[in-house]
Symmetry: C2
């Protein structure tokens, strides 16, 4: 009798686990987990996005959910692998209402991490492949309507004579990706966007902007980029892609449309949303309202004394047009994250005199190093060669519990610090304040905790190290004079242009603006994990606050994040919405109380 | 010693074959072919699209080409298979200038069929996957131009201050697919199209039009349809796809542009092409001119006596708007192929009184039966499941020599005749003249030989069998009176509308129109195999006349066909053009003399 193979190990664990659940023996099921254990569920057991972080958590969760969920048919998918004492296996399973896919990690035949995610609702599967529509209706049908006529009819009716089930506010990549999934699930949906065309939210940014994430990380659902798509997509090119994607996916996309107000009728369970489409008022009554207004769309407008009297030009980074009109001008950029660096470099490249004002330390990660050390395993040409599809990469990514995620990142950034030691030394010599996050866990954890505090270096750091971009470090702005900026150290710099690269505020700011302060406070802060690090106060939440999951306000949802998150989490948000539309019971387990207002 | 596996058989044949070629031993190489043998080459040995149909043909071809081509490195790809005494194997190989892929069929260790096709030119490989562009240029570059600025600059310059190497006349699926390949090969190209937008050539057709070929057969290069794309794409939806594809592939597409004239300067080796873009004259000087004007774009305008005095409406099928404006009208459709059937059904569905005039027998193939019996093995959801990628399917399709292709089709259509016997009996009872092609080889052979003579039944045949679409069969139009049509049998029918579904003429008609009668006659008839069947006079040509390969007119090329052909053969045409642009020697072997003028 030799050692069992990884696949045999996983198979026997999974079938024993399935049996325990089938006979309702929660104690036995829980006993199959290691003392350190995590179960992350994406809407299959909990109708929530939830990580149980101990046997006790798991016990409580199963107590509350097992009887209704009725999980069954746990099957290992493909061959399991093992390394460093961990056996890893893909699997599929079912619940009473859905099919799911998961990833299991065993240590000494006990479960260390378990991911369960929903792939489709039984009876409401997406029509694709063998079940795709016929298109042409064969046979003869008197007065048949063509595809175009049906499409035009839907466009004419939806929102007017017929109400959408779901309204998405914000037509960036988040709203578009979610809209595409809802379309495939046949959930009548309208996406409204203040800009005229899909992609404009990218086109209107500063000229030099390119995605900082590589192409393998950026695919939208259903229609991957062609294999010659650039590694870092220029903003106008991604804009064109979003525009074409929206058309091909046949989304009901209302451009040049702004939301004026929204209110919820608890009794009817529906929203009244006042919008202005091309200047004309329209009242919508969706049952579900999704704010996909972007994590980075609510500018932090810092008001420094004297700003009103400034004689030059001043704007938030989100409004910055690009450098070419500032040749020879004295430009002060307040901030030191991605946008600040991009804008400083762009201004310098166009011959402006540029000073960056760094108010607090910043994490710098060189783009190439980041791709190589942090993303390469899951999102790269090599990963594709290794058979890691985008779908698999997303699930592997999702399978690492937030609670311990930083422990996997710290060594990566220690390696980065070594590899790019020269750059970091030169930056510090230039007076730049560096950090790698409070626990050294680097960029992605900063992104999850606070959505800021870093720059993915594509060149600007050299300009700073070389003094080409001047640096005012460790100071804040004291006040603004008609032709200059005065700093907390008493120094003063003449200025023709001030760019406020001062970041963005929590998405629930949009709820306050569109619905009410009460509703915003009721749902509380969005994003962040409760890590008790800067800008991410505790207590520990275990998941991103309010993102892609039920909130304290029925019928109100938040969707956003980078292209990877928009792609992956739109799957679980769309399934939650479809289930509600079809009146499938969706008892939510483990909603966190609200600890912070925004 | 057991039997050698199919892979071993193929490997030993291929290495012996490669050795013989390497040492220039043509006799030995030829001796490895069966007495019945075919070698089809797609521009690797012959810089032509050419089938050698005997040992003698192969001997002569190798005599002329081997020394220059220097083939090497013949490797079986994957596992060979065998069945019915035939061993089949994929392989790769190289020439002095290119890499290729092929398909080999052995019978008793002798080669029965050999396909050699070019995949890429050494040193000019498409930039994709690991070699894709970076997009963002990292580092700092003074006065850097953004992607959009570079794109706008190219659009402003190409055709004005800078000449395209290649001009494609016609912006339908053919011109667009070829344009996409040339873009990836960095061949400066302009596509001109009389309609305003890509896809309009589809949008402007009659309302009910859908593709008659299923989605698996219709993909464009590089960007497959998403997996929920309808089986039979409605015309406006394929129109939107072409528009989106053109934008995403960044093609230089001039809409609302017509070609006025073209002339070739033999000395300079360049064309002078007068076009009108948005009404403004532009003179272009491409070195290569591709007519992608469509196999079905030069209407056969039959002039019946009295037509000029007809008081009703009359138009060619290509101009037919759709049935809704003809409710209650008396409509006569002259012709009995695809368009005629579609238009009759559409008119009937909209409550018109419709008569089809069948002048000669027609092949009817029910769409479902066709998909199941004829296409299913290569282009279907099942084929995809079986690992037959579009690329593989295209090569398998291409590997069947035209000379014997009909022998594989005849049994398929015998089966069809059985399966749909009832429909055929009802049609004949209604007086409809049926055929399966002169040798019973059915639809696709008719398409290759004459590009006409069939209807893929999606419902109209029932209307004819049931007498709902009236039939005038076996007659021709004698003359047209102000309010009626008189037939060769003396009968007369009142008419408010006459649709001339009288088909299209050879593509070299475009050469006559745009260049000169002399040039059109010099290149001769396009399409057809020389099968000595109706509308495809002999002698036998072995390949489609003038399609995707060098013609008797240097710098003039014809591209067209259905979506499958536009996709697959654009690969070989684009490689021929790229090679010429890079001054790679392209000695053409085995050009056929011109036997027919058009």
């Amino acid at each position: 009798m030799g050692e069992p193979t990884p696949t045999q190990q996983a198979t026997s664990w999974l079938s024993a686990f399935g049996d325990a659940l089938a006979r309702g023996d929660i104690a036995a099921a829980v006993a199959m987990f290691d003392t350190e254990c995590y179960w992350r569920d994406l809407v299959t057991f909990t109708w929530n996005i939830k990580t149980c972080e101990s046997r006790e958590d798991i016990y409580a969760m199963l107590q509350a959910t097992l009887a209704k969920v009725k999980p069954a048919n746990w099957q290992v998918e493909g061959e399991a692998t093992s390394g460093n004492g961990v056996t890893e296996a893909w699997f599929t399973f079912e619940t009473a209402v859905a099919r799911g896919r998961g990833l299991l990690r065993l240590r000494e035949n006990k479960c260390w991490t378990l991911l369960t995610s929903m792939t489709e609702l039984k009876g409401f599967e997406e029509k694709k492949g063998a079940t795709r529509p016929m298109g042409a209706e064969h046979g003869v049908i008197r007065e048949r309507k063509s595809w175009l006529e049906r499409k035009q009819q839907e466009e004419a009716e939806l929102g007017y004579s017929r109400q959408p089930y779901c309204l998405i506010i914000g037509g960036g990549q988040g709203g578009i990706a979610l809209g595409a999934r809802l379309k495939r699930l046949q959930v009548p949906t309208i996406i409204i966007e203040k800009n005229a065309k899909p992609g404009d939210s990218w086109r209107k940014r500063y000229k030099s902007l390119c995605l900082h994430d590589p192409v393998w990380y950026d695919h939208l659902p259903y229609l991957p980029f062609p294999d010659n798509w650039p590694v870092f997509s220029p903003k106008d090119k991604i804009g064109d892609w979003l525009e074409m994607y929206t058309k091909i996916m046949e989304l009901n996309y209302w451009g040049s449309t702004v939301c004026k107000s929204a209110s919820y009728d608890e009794v009817k369970g529906e929203w009244t949303v006042e919008v202005e489409r091309d200047g004309k008022p329209v009242t919508l009554h969706p049952r579900q309202l999704v704010l996909a207004t972007g994590m980075s769309a609510m500018p932090n407008l810092v008001q420094y004394p004297g700003a009103a009297d400034f004689k030059g030009e001043q704007h938030h980074s989100s409004k910055h047009p690009g450098g070419d009109q500032y040749r020879g001008k004295k430009c002060i950029v307040i901030g030191s994250n991605n946008s600040a660096h991009d804008i400083c470099a762009d201004l310098w490249e166009h011959g402006a005199d540029v000073t960056m004002v760094q108010r607090s330390s910043t994490h710098i990660a060189r783009s190439d190093t980041l791709m190589d050390l942090a993303l390469g395993g899951l999102y790269s040409e090599q990963a594709v060669k290794n058979g890691i599809t985008t779908d698999k990469a997303d699930l592997i990514f999702a399978s690492v519990p937030y609670k311990i995620m930083h422990t996997f990142h710290i060594p990566v950034y220690q390696e980065m610090a070594k590899r790019d030691a020269d750059l970091y030394a030169r930056l510090e010599k230039a007076g730049f304040m560096l950090d790698f996050g409070e626990d050294g866990s680097g960029l992605f954890m900063k992104y999850l905790r606070r959505g800021s505090g870093y720059y993915i270096d594509v060149g600007a750091s050299d300009l700073i190290a070389d003094g080409k971009i001047k640096l005012k470090s460790g100071v804040t702005v004291e006040r603004i004079k008609p032709n200059s900026v005065v700093f907390s150290d008493g120094s003063e710099l003449p200025a023709d242009l001030i760019v406020y690269a001062t970041g963005y505020s929590s998405m629930n700011g949009w709820a306050a603006q569109l619905i009410s302060k009460e509703t915003a406070d009721k749902v509380g802060k969005c994003w962040g994990l409760g890590s008790s690090t800067t800008k991410d106060p505790g207590p520990w939440e275990g998941e991103l606050r309010n993102m892609w999951k039920p909130t304290q306000q029925p019928g109100l949802w938040f969707h956003g994040g980078n292209l990877h998150q928009s792609r992956h989490y739109s799957q679980f948000l769309s399934l939650q919405l479809k289930a509600r539309m079809e009146n499938i019971p969706t008892p939510v387990y483990g909603m966190n109380p609200v600890h912070h207002l925004g």
